[in-house]
Amino acid sequence: MAAISSKEDSQPVHTRLSDTLRGWLKIRELNIFSVLLLVGILISIFSPYFLTTNNLMGVFRSFSLIAIMSIGMMLVIITGGIDLSVGSVMGLSSLVTALAFQHGAGPVTAVFAGLFVGLAVGCFNGFLVTWIQLPPFIATLGTLSIGRGLMYMITKGVPVTPDVPDSFTFIGQGYLGLVPFPVVIMIFMTICFSVLMRQTRFGRHVYATGGNEMAARLSGVRTFRVKFIVYALSGLIASIAGIVSFSRFVSAEPASGFGAELDVIAAAAIGGASLSGGAGSVEGAIIGAALAGIIANGVVLLNIDTYAQQAITGCVILIAVSIDIWRVRRKGR
């Protein structure tokens, strides 16, 4: 990213169309996006079913949950932290939403209950990181374990499957035209957060906090407040994913979301996140989630041994990020 002079800080940002278009060709996400296109083309050569509308919409819908959570994760990683609790939060908010329905709540109440859980855990994480000054890895590892434990204690190992109204199942199973609703949510959130990160002051504060926290604080950025907000957002976003997931499967399993945090971190890593902070973008995270998603789809379409799926995903991740790093080094950007 280009250095930002202090004069621009106080003015709203205007960009002209030609500048935008020229800028697009130089953007870093193009590296990862080309890998995505390459893998997609490879799969479609070997399977005529890959490029069908049904299949593509299905694939988008499957990776939309990881993609949504990776938005929050990307924000946290940019500040130099990490949030290991997202899988747990997703499962816990699924469960709370299910329990709300089981106790006779309406869809709106149930959704708010789920969102509240995510926000609460996110704020708790923020509190641990900014007030108690715990390293983010430890803090969110703790909340991950607490969340998992709570889920098993509450469900006693048995999935919760209440009756839910159609208005609620629309969230996870409905379509707007040809597009599944979870994909609509994913696109909407990507646009919102992309604008937030690129065009607002808060976005720049997030990058500044991650790039060099001391320098940012001395320049007047309220870094503790920024960090608290990103953890709260990450929790809230994970609960959105949990609610969409429950709406799709209508079953809150005790192990729901287990291991999801690794997939989310992988998506963010492909999206250009540096675990020391200051780099990465929301769009990159979405592309990262898409890459993992189409590999999973390709494995079944091409009848590749499913045991090989994780190994293949790992290799593709390494190749994708290596290409990205190599191009960045070459261009000296």
């Binding site: 299949n55 299905g58 499967f249 209508v250 192990a255 999973a296």
Partner: protein, 314 residues
Amino acid sequence: MDMTFRTVMSVGVATAALCLSVSAQAKDAKDISVAVIPKVAVPFFDDCNKGAQQAADKTGVKYQWVVPQNTQGSTQVKIIEDLISKHVDGIAISVNEPKSVESVMKRAEQSGIKVLTFDSDSPKSGRSMYIGTNNESAGETMAETMGKALGGSGDVAIVTGQLGAVNLNERIAGIKKGLAKYPGIKIVETQGTDDDLARGVSVVETTLRAHPQLKGIFGVSQVGGPAVSKVLNTKEFGAMKGKLEVLAFDDLPDTLKALKDGSIQGIMVQRPVTMGSLAVNNLVAQIQGTGEAPKDIDTGVTVVTKDNLGSYTK
């Protein structure tokens, strides 16, 4: 690597040709593709794969074995969706979580794919039939064996796998039903282990310490046999070997070894190879429109003891 590409290319070309051709009423065996989805990667399902592969080779249909990476319902939903996109003709699945796959299985049936369940059912999913062990009667058989061995009285414990698993809970219900005939037998503990061996060992140890007068153990899932055998071969509990009546499920190598050395007295062996081959054969029959109306098949269990150890089939 070369073979895989060539196979994949030929499958790709064949399926492309299939797309272009008009769908026929009675399909030729080599144009039929079936997919079988187990719960997760454990040895029990390797036997199912063996049976299914044999049946597929014999009938000449294209066969695909798709193993989920974990036991979450969403993983199997994703796999079924991908198979629908691929336009397979038949799907046989052992269901992890019955509710979450209902809507996607209905969608598969609506698009003309024949769907059946094996080993673990989703009763409300509109599947044509269920092939598997009637778990309740298997549990009753276990209870009967235990009742006779204990002479009708004593304390027993139940060690199960996932607490929420429908098939395991049906077995436990069958055990309780069967034990009604033996009012002198009391179930003092029911513990879950998620089919994790380490957890199983610790659960069995704790149970034995808490109930030193225990007379029998029901191992309702596949972890029971190996767990009990590990515990009874330690110094602390070695003396109880042979004094406890232990009944296990599924003939894992460790369980068979325990049967031979006397830690376990009986194993309920399911018939996974039969399940696999019946699944494929029934799918092909439904796809080609031959055979009678589909109805559930109980593949039953064999009670294996030291006597018939070398002679049972699956």
